[in-house]
Amino acid sequence: MGTWTLIAPEGLLLAGALVALFADVLLPARERAGAWVGAGFAAIAAAVSVAAGGGTLFGGQFAIDGATQVARAATLVLTAVFLAWLAGAGLKRGRVREFAALVLFAALGSLLMAAARDWIVLLLALETATMPAYVLMGFDRGDDRSLEGALKYFLLSMVASLLFLYGASFVIGMSGSTLLAASRLQPGAIGVVAAAFVFAGLLAKLSAAPFQWWSPDAYAGAPSPAVAFVSSVPKIAGLFAFARVAAVLAPQTAAAGPLLVAAAVASMLVGNLAAYPQTDVRRLMAYSGVAHAGYLLVGLAAGTVAGAQAAVFYAIAYAVPSMGVMLVAAQYGETLDDLRGLATRRPWVAWATGLMLVSLVGVPPLAGFVGKLYLFTAAMRSGLVWLSVLAVVMSAVSAGFYLRVIRAMFFAAGGNAGPAARGSRVASAVVASCAIAVIVIGVASSPLMGALAFGR
């Protein structure tokens, strides 16, 4: 069996991105063909990633175990689904093929990030995943807010990468190897500093507090389809890489636990409370993303395999509805006023959205609840009872702002007619499949959790 099949999904995405990029040369008549092609490539890559199994490449720099497979497959499936939506709904200002190519490049980086077992590969993967995202966030070239948001995102993201690199350079120096598994932190302040810098870089990529401030501005300026992708899909691999790094560094320095706990507390508080006054769904979902980063960190703070598994599971349980809700916003309007009365205009879309929002609150038996059950069980098993109590209280608090969206859609009669709903069947099917996935992941969590096996 050729171990090269392990990296075949990356190859497929690269090929797909290039085809999508030149789609107007190959298929000049079809603006959206690039997105379809990309969706096809991503779907095939997903199948290949599952079929290829696990293994190691490049002297251990690139490795795939059960959990990695889950993270990669989830990233690929969501990418394919997103591109299908893009092909169905299109973009307000066109240039679909460029958009599709950038999404594929970002997904490529995410795949590498999940499989990276080496500090340098991880950094490169992180950059590969983030750079297309800058362009996606600033995709509306003519829109100053979009550019401003993209610039903020770019600057902070660069700083985060540098923090990460700075920290990683210490770790590499102390351990004499670039392999993650070989990392050795020296006792004392230097180890703490190295870990703190690495974590800070990863926290910023995850839009966790105290590095969250860029995300609301960046999201509010960006085109909604870009937000739908950037805010959800890359977070699975990002969280996964974080879990890997934390698993290596946390046991070696006593400061790691408190750092993660502090970031978790800050993220949950800032995210859930700041989401309340928002009337723009993009800003609301930006803060919701901060809050959910906090829940994920609760799992990592547990410092156990069960905690990491729960966090990866929850990253998926978060990404699916988060993307779905933003796709709805992309189609039917970004402010609460735009969504007013959606239940009368497009009842099924409204119900699907309501379901996804309720899952984000954590109402059983949906994915969000099951994810939280795993997370808090792991955290409490590690003795983080008070952190779990805070997390569940914050979940109840979060109901307030998610319900405001539901209230706008369902309880307000008529309201503003909103932009003429583009009734793309494919787009509606994508939203529906996100909603169904939220139910299925919740009710039948067993196979997914079973597949989340962490090897070395």
Partner: protein, 495 residues
Amino acid sequence: MGMSNLLSVVVFLPLLGAVISALVPKGSPGAAKWVAAITSGLGLALTVWLVAAFDRTASGMQFVTDVVWVQQAGIHYHLGLDGISIAMLGLSSLLGLIAVIASWKITDRAPTYFAMLLLLQVGMNGVFVALDFVLFYVFWELVLVPMFFLIGMWGGARREYASIKFFIYTLAGSVFMLVGMIALYLQTGTFDMVELARLGAGGTLGLGFQNWVFLAFFLGFAVKVPVFPLHTWLPDAHVEAPTAASVLLAGILLKMGTYGFIRVSLPMLPDAARVWAPWIAVLAVISIVYGAAVAFAQTDLKKLVAYSSVSHMGFVMLGIFSLTAAGLNGAIAVMFSHGVVTGMLFLIVGMVYERTHTRQIADISGLSSAMPVMGGLLAFASFASLGLPGLSGFVGEFLSLIGSWQSTVIPHWMTVIAAVGVLLAAAYTLWMVLRVVLGTPSDVVRGLPDASPRELTALAPLIALTLVVGLSWSSLLSFVDPAVKALVAALGGAA
């Protein structure tokens, strides 16, 4: 088909109905109510079959289904019935059907409305039969969503406020239950409620641990009951909810809280229950007196019934935390009777409101002059509510008081104050009957049509049950008593 599968069918049949109802094409909105009526009717018939097949002499679980659901987390799909749960399941199935009949005139977004009503039934039925703690929690929370939409989409003027307050308030309570549940799991390694009860009776859990888990569960259950001072969501939700939702809210959802105390807190944490019992009894007595006192001041008929619920649920809490067989039997009898009688009261209030578009007591005085049947039924339901011997309300409150008097954990003076609550209930209820039923006819009520056959159909089973339970306590308590005896024995064993 085995009887244990039948139990699953009873729980999930409404889900099927909800899906079908939601899929009813726009052209024929009238079909939704038939779908709802047929599924609820079938569900009730199957529940009656279960009741008939139930062995009243046994104290353990019957019709048990137990299969692994989520292997990694030790979660099972585990259902079963004992005498306590079958009484509540019967009530839930009956009120579910009655809620559908009471909603017959709903035309606004009818398919969605009936789908929500049916989805609510899934949660209500499920809570009373779940024997796995996670499953219990799933059903517990499942109830929130349809009730939120029922209040928010079909409620009164302040529906948005009331629905969100209801949702957040009860969610905030139940997330503490989630923490308690996980803590119990980590301590014992199981979510099996039967096993947890066995471990609880065996005294394997330390008192310190029990105490704080008890507190977490208390927050979850007490909000639902509601116990003073966690009751403030209730008047808002009740008043704004459409009639059918009020019936189910008062009839079933409040009972979920007290059921939780009986099924979870007492058997699993018996030592903590002993420690906390006097304090909860204080809150129960406050609820009784406070609910009654506030009911006096109400000018809105629906609000009056809502506050009377706070008072009546106080008797349930008092009976439960007397930790005696009489008190627990009484508590369950009040739960059942209050479900039936308050359901009746909310139905009648709704029927009157449909005609008069007001619920102000002053506006609808002299109801019986225009609507003798409706007025008579309101008087009947009120008498049942205040605990007139011979009607269903009497037995429960009587036994609750007996139990709290016998109890070794509740001081006698509390029982005395609670007994005053019975007098208060009689006073505010009779005063209401005096004004509404007998007062000088107001302009509003003059010439209004009396109860229709459909309305009488909705009320008839409740009237019958009020009489049957009132005249023959054992018809209800013969189901409940063996399970209660076993519970009290287990509680005693832990002392």
